[in-house]
């Protein structure tokens, strides 16, 4: 590199390193005196400043990424002291991977002056975690409530196609978060920001940093010596807080993702920068190729399974049942090997391998089946315009019958035909076929319908006998069967837990589980238990919802930030018949029928009560329905009120007097 270019680069870098929002000593002292921040008065800590700077450079023919991390955090409460214990993880590679230039300090108020306690040089620990994964650990000294901790380090590694995600939103509020990228101009990349704030571009970095706008960007191409520079800053970031009824918190976190689109260095091939290219890559991958091949060895097993059945749906069900029952998923004896015969003979493999066999068997039975790659609720959803391959971590089967897709996952013996485990419904997915197709896997594809019949009789003056037949919906049946597996097949414990949920002072008489080994049917639980009568020799009172649909209002918070999300649509029906002690009559008139609805009847609760004096029987029918899986947060008050009203109704008591 020529001297002039070197000098220019050095000057530019100097400018860059000085032109940032890193705190001055004066600012730190002011913040030391601050005990509460308007951005979140309840916060245990506030990130005063955060910077992630990435510098991609070509060194000896390969791209190396140097990531500089700098954080300044104000500790407000003791439970945030863990922020002072820092671990940095890195994989060892054949090029240099390590943590460099580690610096840190803790600031405290000492009277009116500021005391700085530096992290002593070399005061860190390096350990090998497992295989080639390492960590460097350090802990800031003198950290306590009110302290400000500050640390920075460089992390060096080979450059990958996907750049580090900018986690804009985290558990603590942030006053300033910066992300910058200095990269060779032969590389181009794309970014996608998940944020409520509109990003505004400024002509200079200083203007971006000082602007009142809360999401700012600055770009300088041909910055120096064949490098481009992009800088983002986000200000006043509220923390993300967990709320109930959110399927995947990660999808709601504010963040920015970057992916290299292509690099044009000599004759390098562009990255998979479209879903079409992704599909092509997957279509040519071993698992997809093997799943569509014809196999002689499969003929006999398939014939044994389907026999002479010509109906596509029943053939598919039979094959699915076979794979589900006979293959075990878990640690694969042959990781990465998608040879269908090997997996078939082992009867074991990863989820990806087992579903490859399922797809191969369906295709070999004359059906049409494709792999479908999906993200799960353990991670962020894939985006339609942003093919991040590593986000699609799971593979299931997309079966086509009469132009409709049926989704199948044979990885667990309790999975249901046509219903995948709930964690699979995480948004954007890809069917890997010749042309490829996008699919949205949303919870509103799922519906669970359950019913319960309860019969109560009073064989004596003090005891009542409760007989319950509960028929679970298909989704809850699958969940319950998996719970039963976890209880180490001790049915009694499982039942005991169910009974305790219904009545804490119940004494079990009989119990029975039906269809436990038939995953494509409804699980039925039959219970009979005794409990004390509600009343005495002269009066009897019953709660019209002795088995409440909602024992507690699940929506307790006064406010809501995130949408309310349900994992599936549901219908619950309950039929209660109570045969009273002889001679009982209602004290007052019975309650009128109740209808409580919300949101164009998407949420509905209905109850009716009838009295049959000749049989001394009260009959109560209840139906609850929820037909929508996502409600925006502006509907939250209505949802909370709906549940409150249902609970009020469920708490009503009818009194009966005995002659």
């Amino acid at each position: 590199m020529r001297l002039k270019s070197l000098l220019l680069l050095g000057f530019a870098l100097l400018l860059l390193s000085n032109a940032n929002a890193q705190l001055t000593n004066t600012q730190i002292k002011e913040y030391l005196k601050t005990s509460s921040f308007p951005i979140d008065a309840d916060a245990s800590a506030v990130v005063l400043y955060e910077r992630i700077s990435i510098d991609i450079a070509n060194e000896d023919g390969r791209y190396v990424e140097t990531r500089n991390i700098h954080k300044t955090i104000k500790i407000l409460k003791r439970d945030a002291l863990s922020a002072a214990n820092v671990k940095v993880y890195f994989p060892k590679d054949d090029y240099k991977n390590y943590v460099y230039k580690l610096k840190g300090a803790t600031y405290n108020l000492d009277g009116d002056s500021m005391k700085e306690t530096p992290l002593p040089k070399g005061d860190y620990y390096k350990d090998k975690l497992v295989n080639e994964y390492y960590e460097v650990s350090f802990t800031l000294p003198e950290a306590r409530e009110g302290s400000i901790i500050d640390y920075s380090y460089d992390l060096v590694s080979p450059a990958y196609g996907t750049l580090p995600v900018w986690d804009i939103q985290d558990e603590y509020p942030k006053l300033v978060s910066e992300y910058s990228l200095l990269y060779p101009s032969v590389i181009s990349f794309t970014s996608i920001a998940y944020s409520q704030k509109v990003m505004k571009v400024f002509p200079s970095k200083e203007e971006a940093m000082s602007a009142k706008d809360e999401f700012c960007k600055y770009v300088q191409n041909s910055y120096a010596a064949g490098k481009n520079y992009t800088f983002w800053v986000r200000k006043n970031i509220t923390p993300i807080k967990a709320e109930p009824f959110v399927i995947n918190m990660l999808n709601h976190k504010e963040r920015m993702e970057l992916q290299v689109l292509l690099y044009n260095y000599v004759t390098k091939i562009p990255y998979n920068n479209t879903w079409e290219k992704y599909n092509q890559g997957e279509w040519d991958d071993d698992y997809a190729k093997n799943a569509r091949k014809t196999y002689e060895f499969l003929k006999e097993p398939i014939h044994k399974i389907v026999k002479d059945d010509t109906n596509k749906l029943s053939k598919a069900k039979a094959i699915f049942s076979y794979v589900r029952a006979n293959f075990k998923t878990g640690e694969s004896p042959n990781p990465g090997d998608y040879n269908v015969k090997t997996i078939f003979d082992n009867k074991r493999g990863s989820w990806w391998q087992v579903n490859t066999v399922l797809i191969a068997m369906l295709n070999n039975a004359g059906l049409e089946a494709y792999p479908m790659t999906i993200s799960t609720t353990d991670g962020i959803s894939a985006a339609s315009n942003f093919p991040v391959r590593h986000r699609l971590v799971h593979m299931v089967c997309a079966l086509v019958i009469d132009d409709y897709y049926i989704y199948l996952d044979a990885g667990n013996k309790n999975n249901v035909f046509g219903i995948m485990p709930l964690y699979c419904y995480n948004g954007y997915a890809r069917v890997i076929s010749q042309k490829g197709e996008a699919v949205m896997l949303s919870p509103d594809l799922l519906e669970d319908i359950s019913s319960e019949q309860i019969k109560i009789t009073c064989p004596g003056d003090t005891v009542q006998l409760v007989e319950i037949t509960h028929r679970y919906g298909m989704i809850t049946s699958s969940i319950m069967r998996k719970e039963l597996e976890k209880e180490k097949n001790e049915e009694t414990n499982f039942i005991d837990k169910l009974v305790r949920e219904k009545s804490e002072d119940a004494t079990m008489v009989t119990h029975k589980l039906e269809n436990t080994d038939l995953p494509d049917t409804n699980l039925v639980v039959k219970l009979t238990y005794k409990t004390k009568i509600n009343g005495d020799i002269s009066s009897y009172f019953m709660n019209t919802s002795c088995d409440k649909i909602f024992p507690k209002n699940p929506f307790l918070a006064a406010k809501r930030v995130l949408p309310v999300e349900f994992q599936y649509r549901s219908t619950i029906k309950r039929y209660l018949n109570v045969t009273l002690p002889s001679g009982c009559t209602p004290v007052d008139s019975l309650p009128n029928p109740v209808i409580i609805t919300f949101g164009d009847n998407n949420m509905e609760y209905r109850k009716s009560v009838a009295w049959f004096p000749e049989m001394s029987t009260v009959s109560v029918n209840v139906t609850y329905k929820n037909n929508q899986v996502v409600y925006e947060n502006d509907k939250y008050d209505y949802i909370r009120d709906f549940y409150a009203e249902v609970i009020r109704d469920e708490n009503k008591i009818i009194a009966f007097k005995r002659k």
């Binding site: 008065a41 309840d42 245990s44 409460k77 003791r78 439970d79 002291l81 002072a84 214990n85 306690t117 620990y125 350990d127 090998k128 975690l129 497992v130 960590e135 650990s137 802990t139 000294p141 003198e142 950290a143 306590r144 409530e145 807080k241 075990k328 878990g330 640690e331 004896p333 082992n346 074991r348 003090t462 180490k488 001790e490 009694t492 414990n493 005991d496 804490e504 002072d505 004390k532 509600n534 009343g535 005495d536 002269s538 009066s539 009172f541 409440k548 909602f550 024992p551 507690k552 209002n553 307790l556 918070a557 006064a558 004290v587 007052d588 609970i647 708490n651 008591i653 009818i654 009194a655």
Partner: protein, 639 residues
């Protein structure tokens, strides 16, 4: 006999005495007796451990364990997990996989052994583990591992546990411990049907023990008796030991305490600035107790717990100057730092060794010193009392010990040696929950008013993390779950800590509006007065009619509910007061009504202890009385 034959004989003898596995000894599944299959997910076919103690500074352990895994839930028993650190090394590891006929199908490969850091709850440690699994999936299968380890310290002689865990039977487990004639080894066995035997051979003592045909244990539950939860085995200890080159004696608890004291002696020197701070804080105090409280609060506000366990640092504390400068440390370092501050203030205290959680084999025994410890606290004796200090806690008040360190024997390290003492045991007067609701019932069957909840002792421990320093939203959310109503809203909720004597309390107050379970019609009113939830009855899978059970903690719950009604009422049927007492506890319930005011008081008490199985039905009955609707539903007639 010719030289050649002698060599041949020696070789054959060597082969057989070293139990070469392959082809010589099979473990077909069919050879497992049926009695060992019940409740078992795995069967330990053979466990042979050989200890060779060369002296106080080193001993070796050779182990061979053969496990048949019966089903998926037993997989963990068939894997290999061996720990090591600076204090020991793993010299050799071999493994084999057999099918159900007992034929070898696979052998361990070095590249399949995974070496991982074993942090546990430590921030930094030198503990690591070697892990291996054959990844077999066709059940049943059998694995065999042979391990050779060397230990460089006999402070913690690895005790022998014959049973690897619940749901695992043992067909044959044997142990032999070879040690020099003059080596002061001691042992205690636990639940072994045949007592260990010590013989003398070739100038060595050999201790041998075995366990045969042990049937798998099912899960323990909340009321299992502590003593029954210990696995069969042998605890080993020696009177003299070496720890990273430092020699010590464990012949008596006094000796061991002295060793620990001397190992850490002289490390309690403060920096001049810290000394000045101590005097600044305490010179105006009027009593030693006040000094203790002030310095303890300083420790809690200014230091934090960070566990760094490296080498001898697992036993020897960081200097007090380290904590002075960095303001963090583990339990030993923080206790030592506190001790140094007290010393500067003229108060004597002693770092004390304790065991947190249940030990695997034996609890601390005054007659049998052995290393059982995993925690350090501080003992500050005063003429009339002892103040215990938990130096790793930012919230525990001085003098109080939490559930993890109370009610047990500990070893106080004094210059004269160790002293075994008992930490406080807290009864129902300490572990007390006092709840009071003063509510008004309106015409819409809503109850509104004030609720106060006071959590003491054990209840304080459980409640503390939920409320203190919790964000407003989290506090409100938690308080929305502490009452027995299906739906209620809260306002003006507060939560603060308080101390009464040495007992910590959390005091919560809130105004609520709740949906009552009620029916008012014409002249009568039915109302469910159960406002507060109870702790659940411990569950038990045992046949409690024949076995004993244990209630582990004493506690008392006192509830008062005062409801102002919307009219003058009298009971339509007499109130069902309750007054029952059993050996394990009692429950008292009473109602009074005076015009518009209905008052319900109840006291529910549990006493810790071991009780005969036939009392369990009474325990369930007592709880049934407290939660049953018939006791909580009142029917009132309007006057």
């Amino acid at each position: 006999m010719s030289l050649k034959n002698i060599c041949l004989l020696a070789l054959v003898t060597f082969i057989f005495t070293n139990n070469i596995h392959a082809g010589e000894q099979k473990f077909p599944v069919s050879a497992i007796p049926d009695s060992l299959l019940k409740n078992a997910h795995a069967v330990m076919r053979l466990y042979d451990a050989r200890y060779v103690i060369n002296g106080p500074a080193e001993y070796t352990v050779s182990e061979r364990y053969v496990v048949t895994v019966l089903d998926e839930k037993g997989t963990g028993f068939g894997n290999c997990t061996e720990y090591y650190s600076k204090g020991n090394s793993i010299d050799d590891l071999n493994g084999f996989l057999y099918n159900k006929e007992g034929e070898e199908v696979k052998k361990i490969k070095r590249r399949d052994i995974v070496d991982v850091a074993a942090y546990g709850s430590n921030f930094v440690t030198d503990y690591r583990a070697l892990l291996h699994t054959f990844g077999a999936h066709q059940y049943p299968y059998t694995t065999e591992y042979e391990v050779e380890k060397t230990y460089y310290s006999t402070l913690s002689l690895a005790s022998w546990t014959a049973v690897p865990g619940l749901h695992c039977s043992v067909q044959q487990a044997t142990v032999s411990v070879e040690y020099p004639l003059d080596y002061p080894l001691r042992f205690r066995s636990k639940s072994l049907p045949v007592q260990p035997v010590v013989a003398t051979r070739d100038g060595q003592h050999i201790l041998t023990a075995s366990l045969m045909g042990f049937k798998a244990l099912k899960d323990f539950d909340e009321i299992s008796v502590d003593a029954d939860m210990h696995m069969p085995g042998i605890v080993l200890a020696c009177d003299t030991f070496s720890l990273f080159g430092t020699n010590g004696s464990m012949a008596t608890w006094k000796d061991f305490g002295r060793f620990f004291y001397q190992l850490n002696d002289g490390r309690d020197v403060l920096t001049p600035q810290m000394k000045a701070t101590v005097h600044q804080l305490t010179d105006t105090c009027t009593s030693n107790q006040q000094k203790i409280n002030v310095l303890y609060q300083y420790l809690q506000k200014n230091t934090r717990y960070v566990s760094i366990q490296l080498g001898i640092g697992g036993w020897q504390t960081f200097d007090a100057t380290f904590v002075c400068e960095k303001k963090y440390g583990d339990c030993k370092a923080l206790s030592n730092f506190m001790k140094a501050m007290l010393k500067e203030a003229g108060i004597v205290s002693y770092t004390t060794l304790a065991r947190v959680g249940s030990p695997d084999l034996l609890p601390m025994n005054p007659e049998f010193p052995y290393n059982i410890f995993n925690h350090a606290i501080l003992c500050v004796p005063t003429p009339t009392d002892t103040t215990w200090l938990e130096c790793t806690s930012a919230s525990t008040p001085a003098g109080y010990l939490s559930n993890s360190t109370s009610d047990r024997k500990v070893l106080v390290g004094t210059p004269e040696g160790g002293v075994v003492v008992s930490t406080p045991t807290y009864g129902p007067e300490t572990n007390v929950l006092i709840r009071k609701a003063e509510l008004v019932l309106n015409d819409k069957n809503e109850l509104s008013g004030k609720v106060s909840l006071n959590y003491g002792g054990l209840f304080w421990e459980r409640e503390h993390a939920n409320v203190i320093d919790a964000p407003r939203a989290a506090l409100d959310k938690h308080l929305s779950t502490v009452l027995g109503f299906s739906d209620y809203s809260i306002a003006e909720a507060t939560a603060r800590t308080a101390t009464e004597g040495k007992i910590p309390f959390i005091k919560e107050t809130m105004n609520i509006t709740a949906t009552a379970e009620a029916n008012a019609s014409g002249s009568s009113l039915m109302l469910n007065t159960r406002m507060f939830p109870l702790l659940p009855v411990p569950s038990s899978r045992a046949d409690t009619s024949t076995s004993k059970f244990q209630l582990h903690k004493s506690y008392c719950m006192k509830d008062t509910v005062i409801i102002t009604l919307n009219g003058n009422y009298a009971p339509s049927t007499p109130f069902k007061d309750v007054d029952i007492t059993y050996p394990f506890g009692s429950y008292h319930l009473s109602y009074t009504i005076n015009g518009k005011t209905l008052t319900k008081t109840s006291v529910y008490t549990i006493k810790a202890g071991i009780y005969s199985g036939d009392q369990f039905a009474n325990l369930k009955k007592m709880r049934g009385e407290s939660i049953g609707t018939s006791r909580n539903m009142v029917v009132l007639g309007k006057l």
